[in-house]
Amino acid sequence: MKKSALKRRAILDAAYRLFRAQGFDKTSIAEITALAGGSKATIYSHFRSKEVLFVECMMAAVEDYMSSTLKHLDTSVDPRVALEHFGTSVLNFLCSPERLEVRRLMIAEAARSGTGKLFFDKIAALRTHVSAFLSACMQSGKLRRDDPDLAASHLGALLEAEILEPLLLRVREASPDEKETALAASRAVAAFLRAYAPARLTPVPHGQLNCTNRFC
């Protein structure tokens, strides 16, 4: 690794430890400098502001999470099972105190800096994987054909619908446990799968329901 990349890594590590331990507001660039070594100028040559540094280091933590969450999007298993596991994993992640704080900060800063856009691009990368999975399900007839990006937006909104707002606004402090996120995910996925179910063939007239074909 190049010297500059090593320095960048060291700054991210130091910042991540401090942000996690004491939050965004209470952490200063001076403290990060003290922990990472070097000067404030070095930090600013890598990251243009404390906000950008915050997004970057929270996003660095996302990489690990991404791979473990995305592995649930397995086209060889039943879409319900895949999406419920994926949804629960996403919610556990989004409802963690650090992720909520990232989201609050990004929204708070949105009008003043381009940090919100930076953050959104990172979310969009995750969304691309979900779209690809849904697109594969549409191709194989497990879901009806529609715009997979739109479907991914709908799925994301349904997943967050019951649980995120009170946490974001700190109406409740305690993060939900796995049972609660799994329940919210299963309700969201149930509504999603009904909405995106493949079109059924012409309804079978009453009295002829003796077919064992899976399309019946």
Binding site: I107, A110, G116, K117, F120, G156, L168, L169, R170, R187
Partner: protein, 201 residues
């Protein structure tokens, strides 16, 4: 320091509303607001300690009333459920995506980090809206227009779907605003998906 009066407070709120409407939250300044009402900066700060507090007082209440009226107008006995939902969705999103409402929402989320503003807003706005929408959906489940399900969850799913296409992007400043035809399209798509998810088979 002079004692605070309700008349003065109202005058400040009105002047502030004017300034916010004209230049938006970001560009509005306490000095501009003070210039419209006269008096000293100290007096103004005595009533409202910050631009944020003032903005919250002015806009949060106004937007809450608008949303309340829209949700209140939901006719649970309407003949055409889809049409009623589309109509509701368009009016609702037009307010949600208005620059003032977006600025209020950003402010509430930002302030939630330090104060109970988030809680106040949630209880004053979010809870009553969800409750009213849930009542509407419950009535339609009873009428056989929707399948029987948890009405509260269904309400949150409906509102989430309505906001699904643009809210994050607007809040994060990726896009400035949502055009009326984008709102119409998003509402139609959301209502279609909601009705397929919660309709009777």
């Amino acid at each position: 320091m002079k004692t605070k009066t309700e008349a003065k407070r109202q005058a400040i709120l009105e002047a502030a509303a004017e300034v916010f409407r004209e230049v938006g939250f970001e560009r509005a300044s306490m000095s501009e607001i003070r210039a419209r009402i006269g008096g000293s900066k100290a007096t103004l700060y005595n009533y409202f300690p910050s631009k944020e507090k003032l903005f919250f007082e002015v806009m949060h209440h106004a937007k809450a009333l608008e949303l309340e009226a829209i949700v209140g107008a939901l006719n649970q006995d309407a003949d055409d459920l889809k049409q009623e939902l589309v109509h509701f969705g368009q009016k609702f999103l037009a307010v949600v995506y208005s620059p003032e409402a977006i600025a209020v929402r950003r402010l509430v989320i930002a302030e939630a980090r330090h104060s109970d503003v988030g809680k106040v807003s949630f209880e004053r706005v979010t809870v009553p809206i969800e409750k009213r929408v849930a009542e509407f959906l419950k009535r339609n489940m009873k009428r056989g227009n929707l399948r029987t399900a948890d009405a509260k969850t269904a309400a949150m799913h409906l509102l989430g779907l309505l906001e699904s296409e643009a809210l994050q992007r607007v809040l994060l400043g990726v896009i400035e605003s949502v055009k009326p035809d984008a709102i119409s399209g998003a509402v139609r798509r959301a209502v279609d998906v909601f009705l397929s998810g919660y309709g009777r088979r």
